[in-house]
Symmetry: C2
Subunit: 397 residues, 2 copies
Amino acid sequence: MQNATLFTRVRPAGGEMTSVLVRDGRIHALGGPAPQGVPVVDGGGALLLPGLIDAHAHLDKTLYGMPWYRNEVGPRLIDRIENERAARRELGLDPCRQAARQIVMSIADGTSHIRSHVDVDTDLGLAAIEGVMRAREQYRDAIDVEIVAFPQSGLLIRPGTLELMDEALRMGAEVVGGLDPAGMDRDPKGHLDALFGLAERHGKPIDIHLHEAAELGAFTMQLTIDRVLALGMQGKVTLSHAFCLGMPDTQAVQALANGLLEAGIRIVTTGSASRPVPSVARLHAAGVTVGTGNDGMRDTWGPYGKPDMLERAMLVGLRNNFRRDDELELALHTATYGNARVMGLKDYGLAPGCHADFVLVDAETVPEAIVARPQRKLVVKRGQIVARDGQALAKAP
Amino acid sequence: MQNATLFTRVRPAGGEMTSVLVRDGRIHALGGPAPQGVPVVDGGGALLLPGLIDAHAHLDKTLYGMPWYRNEVGPRLIDRIENERAARRELGLDPCRQAARQIVMSIADGTSHIRSHVDVDTDLGLAAIEGVMRAREQYRDAIDVEIVAFPQSGLLIRPGTLELMDEALRMGAEVVGGLDPAGMDRDPKGHLDALFGLAERHGKPIDIHLHEAAELGAFTMQLTIDRVLALGMQGKVTLSHAFCLGMPDTQAVQALANGLLEAGIRIVTTGSASRPVPSVARLHAAGVTVGTGNDGMRDTWGPYGKPDMLERAMLVGLRNNFRRDDELELALHTATYGNARVMGLKDYGLAPGCHADFVLVDAETVPEAIVARPQRKLVVKRGQIVARDGQALAKAP
């Protein structure tokens, strides 16, 4: 058998010990007799998880590998946005180099796919988009990176940004990004007109950062639901953060959840500990797809964060007061199958026929993997080993 | 110079490189010329922190080192308490062995002091108290453990518990524990009568778990403040969790903070991500001492937690939306100087004359140590090395 490898003694999602036969980059079979002449990798009884997915990253922003950045930034969203635009120049932040660093750390932590928002603004132009595109090309055999053209400094309030967004999408950015249609652009209808116009022109999906709180966020969310239904864009829109779904009015939240389901809108939560957040369990029960991501890490916004999606699942679990094993499995689901739906991935998972993207960790159960966050023992991308014992085989700049 | 060691090339709290001369278990001098004939330990430029303190642990409960516990427990506090009483027997949980395991992990993570609540109830009697006492005796050269006699299953509602508490304090438990005077015992005045009675009889301080939310918790907190002032018990009482201080009515919270300051009541927060929590910054600004602790870890209540107080500082920082460097330094303060005040420790810190309890970590700054949580390079207790490269020198059972 050509182009094949047999991974023995692995426990899919903590179940019975079995083996995984990989062929031509896909999972060929689970269990069954070992074919002749196929190289064997001993999994040593490790837990087998599908490749982890970070569905909300900012690869162009991280300061990892640079000197410590002393954060003295003011408390408002606009303080952080303006500070970042200035700091990017002062620090000499190179989006390609920084994206490469985070990508390599992500590979080491078992991430097989990243959706990264990448800044587009009239200061920066398309430099960050180009930089992240170069970085992803360099590591394309080890990880898949999807790019969202993201108007971090506003879309309508900064003339020229819309044209840059259009160009970023023409260059190959896969997703149209948006940001607080009311809170940032002060024109929710206008912002949505612009985003859905770009999406239609380029035939691409949308992912909007929606920090707007409570009733304001609910208003924008309902506008978005209505727009999706009117345009038949079901399944093509993601709302990230969606703090408004954490508001106290649970009846209003339930009505929004029904609308999200009807419109096929996906929610991505980071499980922020300091903001109201969507209830993963309630949305999941309502049939709404929930994914998760690490968001910015070690950047001018804040010093927290590692590329580890098991740690993210833990933080989502803590925020949602998940304690039972089935609840922790749902936390991991956001970082695996939930995110696969957010990104529209085909053939994702551990079944025969799926891409052979998987991770081995020494843990007895899925919840133990989440709370203990052990070093990744082995990371496999399309059948090839890309990291071992917490170290990516590819090097960072 | 006898009984002395010189630790060179260390950076106290991330400042200028210096050396620390330790003699007879205390910090003798920072900087200055190296005395003749004193053994030298090279700090390699690491960040120097005072010994970390876990001021809210449950050493008798952890399941670390035991098979994975599948959690299928119901959602109420009483479900968890009743499940634990049953599980303790079914699992054969040995309080001494389990405390020893967590103690050794804590030493490895740079913890120099632990305040542990230890269950006292009519099923268990004093077995957990005795077990934790044996464990702490075994590791007394590497870590200080203080014991709170804790009526986990209620005090007045389980006749016989008060007598057991009295006996635990007679045996040497250092602190009188309490639990939700209204929510658990359904008799806030009676519960406080009992606790303050024990405290007076034994001349010992009090530490009450106060989960009671919002206005109910505020009522109990005010009763406690009034009691402390009436009895002249200022500086002798700690309230752990104190979720009521996270309630939306900020004017009521400010009034409580003023009362806490007047009564010298300390607050210990875990920075719970799923409950309203006290604002560390607001309490600190009001002059109230705030400490922190890891609370239960890997037990029948929930699977989360490591003994790492840098990780706890990170979780406190995330919950309080701390982003600036000075804010993260305050998060660490809760786990160091704040906790030292909670526990009433004398001669704690990095100044000459203090006990030589300290930790070295490879990090540029205090905030980096918190967010990166690197393996502890060296842990020193009363001048002796007790852990190196993330491993305690003492062994766990």
